[in-house]
Structures are given as structure tokens and as C-alpha cells.
Amino acid sequence: MSATIVSLPDQSTARIPKMNYLTKENGLLSWLLTGDHKRIAMLYLISLSFFFFIGGALAGLIRLELLTPQADLMATDTYNKVFTMHGVIMIFFFLVPSVPATLGNFLIPMMIGAKDLALPKINLLSWYLYVAGGILAIYTMAAGGVDTGWTFTTPLSTHYVNTNVLTTGLAAFIAGFSSIFTGLNFIVTIHKMRCPGMTWFRLPLFVWAHYAASILMVLATPVVAIAIVLIALERTIGIGVFDPTKGGDPLLFQHLFWFYSHPAVYIMILPGMGVISETISTFSRKRVFGYTAVAFSSVAIAVFGFFVWAHHMFIMGISNYAVLVFSLLTMLVAVPSAIKIFNWTFTLYKGSITFETPMLYTFGFMGLFTIGGLTGVFLGTSGTDIHLTETYFIVAHFHFVMVGGMLMAFLAGIHFWWPKITGRMYPEKISQLAAVVTFIGFNFTFFPQFILGTLGMPRRYASYPPEFQVLNVFSTAGATILGVGYLLPVLYLTWSLKYGEIAGNNPWQATGLEWQTQSPPLTENFTVTPIMDHEAYDYEWLEKQKEKEVTHAG
């Protein structure tokens, strides 16, 4: 088998440290009323996983329906509800909070040498808001669902449907505030609580990525909140702000909606990119190539991401001039993402690469995100977009970046920091298998959808012309494999909690302040405030440290 950088303590004598954030206090209330960012991260991880599998089950239903050209598994109205809830749950209740609320919450204070986030109570409030929104979303499903698509396009959502638009909107509104408070917390923490010596350019790129995503959360989310409020007023009182018969403009809703929802995709991907920076460095044993470029490209993605939203509206009735402007700007926003991919690739060059599970997911990310991102350029070009929009090409595009990209990055991060979070290693062989199964399943599921889209199969349709069936069957078969790939980690990660090997402080020999503490960490992270005296990804410094390591307290 190939080389591995994993370095575990002697398993016959190693023990999980008795004092850590998990053992500090006991009882349900100590968890439900905690201020500890690490416990809140765990609360999020459990609830996120729950919503992910609900969203996944809905995806399974979609793919089952699409096995046959007719709408024979469920009524078309029901199908509309299924894909709507799949979108709402996956976007608002999984992707947006995924890395920030779990890994970001857990790691950012540790990475900057702080004891907690700036506002622990607000952090807990974020989780409660998330759960409240989620419960409301589940209630909506039980109460008959909503069928407008997650985009709530007007005037369909305001004037033509009788389904639960209001409760779903409220669920998204509440989840939005959860996101805003998380972002706000991160920005304050990163600005104000870095330990001595931790200058901006010594921060791990994971922190830079979350900083950029947090700016987006804070600036963009309120706009979709007000869009939802206006929809609610339109539906209840009929104020006329989106109603053409009263002089309103349905496109105004879409402008306000996409003003958030485009930056939202960067909110979703940037934290994943932060994970990739960490894993690619660790598993090539090399500092990230072009640290400054990667750091600034995170901020550039955030800034440029604000100027391109109407590329979701090319066919909706905006003016040709607006199409031109937004199409040109969309070309610009692809550049910083490409810069990152180049820099990560150059990090690999002449590195000592090993293929542990996080690295497998990382490679998956690099390939799949690149394809997804490039197809985004096809879509940003208004000439091609007119033909490809509202087809399966779009569906494939965003699943490549979000599932092939973001979800893989999330899994990379979970595996990478699992030893730090739990003190135990997951079983390597089965996890590598799961990563490969996921990659294969993903490609089978979503690559045919690019072809379907270019052939003209529309999205959000329960039935389709029979000539598209073969590709759809491929896609559904792939989805089954993908499902297995996602189920496996739940099983073996749970198993590892009791039976996994003891990890020790730094099983990956990684740089970063979080790896200088015990696994699992103490509640206060550090017994004394660290002083940062070396650059990020400084492997020489790490070599010197190994000689002086103190393993854990208690």
C-alpha cells in the first residue's frame, strides 16, 4: 500500500484525554444551553446530517420518478413538491450551514488561538434558529408541501398556487437569520480575537475562506429576507408589489431574491474551498502555493459575487442591456475560482502526495468543481444560456459544483478533522472505499444530465420524451450508488466513536494551532493564549515542534 503520513500514538498505551470538551459537563441541558463553540458545532453536525438525509430521500424519490418517461410514480403536483422541498432543504438547511456551522464553528477559534467565538450566546441562538426553521420546513412537508421550486418565482408563488408558500418562506427566513448571526460572529471573531502574532497573512486559508463567506452572509441574506416578507404581504394582503394587474413587477422579486441567492452559492462553496486549502497542503506536505493569491481570491469571489445575480434571469424579461452587463460581469467572477484551482494544483507539484481519505475527496473536488465551474461559464454566456437554461444542463452544473464540489469538500473536512473532534481515527480502508464509491456514483448520476440538458430535456418536469430514458436510467442507477457512498460514512464514523484508533494530537502531522492541542480539545481550547511566531503551513516549524511536544492535560 502507498505511503501514509498518519502518525498515531502507541495504541496499547494511548488513551483519550479524560478532560475534554465532551466530558467537561454532562446532561442534556449542558448541551442545549452550552456556549462552547465546539459543542454547538456538534449540535449542528447532528441536525445537519438529519436534514441531509431527508433531502437525500427526496432526491431518491425524484430519481425514482424519472426512471420512466411518464409521470407514473406520483402525481405531477406531488413531483413539484418533492423537488421543491429537496431544493429548500438541501440549500437552506444543509449546504449553507454545512461547513461554517460545523467545521467553522469548531475550528475558527482554535485556528486563531482564541478560547471561543466572540459571541457564544448568539452562536447558540443561531443553532436554535436553524432548528426552528428546519422544524417548520418539516411541518410544511407534512402539511402538504410547496410546489413553486425553491426559487419561489413570482407570479407563480404569489398568485397561482395554493400550497404552503408562507410557511416555507418563514422557514427560510428564520434559517437566514441563523446564517446571518453565524457570519456576524465569524467576522467579529476573526477581526478581534486573533492571538498575539497571528497577523492576517498567517491565518490558515480556511479562516480567510470563512471570512469571505461571512461577509456574504451578512450583506446578502437580509435582502432575501425582505423579499420573503414582501411575498408574504403579497399573498396575504395582496399589496400589489409583484402583481402586474396592480402595477407591480414580478421581476422585482426575482432581483431581490437572486441578489442573495447568487452570493449564496459562494456562501456555500467558499468554506469548502477553505477545507481544500488545508487538506491539499497537509497531504502534499507543502505550503499552499501562492498563499496571498488564494487569500485574496476568496475575498474577490465574495466581492464579485455581488455583481452578477441577474445571470439567473436572462430569459425572465430583463432588458438586453442588463443581459449584456451581467453576462460580462459573470465572466469576471470565474477568474478568482480558477486562480484557486491553479494554486492548489501548483501546491501538488513536487509535493509528497499521499492518498488518505480526505485527499481522495480533495482530488474529487478538484476535478468535479472544475467541470462544474467551467459549465458555469457556458451558462454565464447569454447566447448559450438561452438554450441551456431551465434544462438539465443547469441541474448538472449546480450539482457538479455543489455535490461534486461542496459536499466532497465537506466530507474531506469531516474526515480530516474527525480525529481532532473525537480523538479517534475512522477506519481508513472503508472510508477510502466510500470516497471512491461516491465519486463513481456521482459521475454516473450527474454527467448524463449534462447530455440530457443539451439534448433539451427540461428541468422540473415529471415526464419527458421517451428518447431520454436511457440517460435517466443511468442517472438513477448512479444515484443509488451515490446513496451508498453517503450512507457508509454515517455508519463507520459512528462505529469509530467507540472503536476507532486513538488519534493523538496530530495524526496528520499538520500545521495549524488546532493540531497543537489535545484531541478532543479542552473546553477552553488553550490553557494559555498561544503566540503565533511562524508563517502558515510552516512544515519546518512543525518538525522543530515535534521534539518538544506535550501531549495532553489530565
Binding site: L219, F306, S319, A322
Partner: protein, 105 residues
Amino acid sequence: MSEETKHGEHAHHIVSPKIYVVILISLLVGTALTVWASFIDLGFWNPIIALAIATTKATLVVLFFMHVKYSTKLTMLTVGAAIFMFLTLISMTLADYISRAWGNW
């Protein structure tokens, strides 16, 4: 205690009540001015003047009542970011509306 409050806390410059009174009077004058201006027909200048006066009043509140004039660069950057983002929302949405049926404007 007082040394440490002077130390960190955005320079912790205590703004004197005299300044507050001056600002209060300016705001009251500004209000009178803007109401008066709205009763005069100045054509397309009316909304511009109204917004200019409102912006001046808002600026005074931000700088003095909200202490931004005595705050860190970070605070000023934050205020600037909010204004910039708001202007982006309006101007780029308008880019669509203005250029639709060119005649509607």
C-alpha cells in the same frame, strides 16, 4: 479601570454634549429646510435636494451621535461597506429597469 477603558475600546473618546447640541440644532434646521423646499417647485431638483438634505442629516447622526468620527478605521470601513452594497443593489437593479422600455423614464 479607567486606564483600560481608555486603552482599547475605539479610542474611547468621550464626545462632549456641546457637540451633541450643535448637531441637534443642525438636524432641526435641516428638517425645516427640507420641508420648506418641498413646497417650492424646483422641477427635477426637488428629489435631489430632499435626498441631499436627508443624507447630510444622516451623515451628521452617523459621524457624531454614533461616534464614527472618533472610531476606528474598521468601523468606517463597515459603514462604507453597507452604503456601497446598498448602492450596488439599487444601481444594478436600476440598470435593468432603466434600460427596458426606454420610454418609461
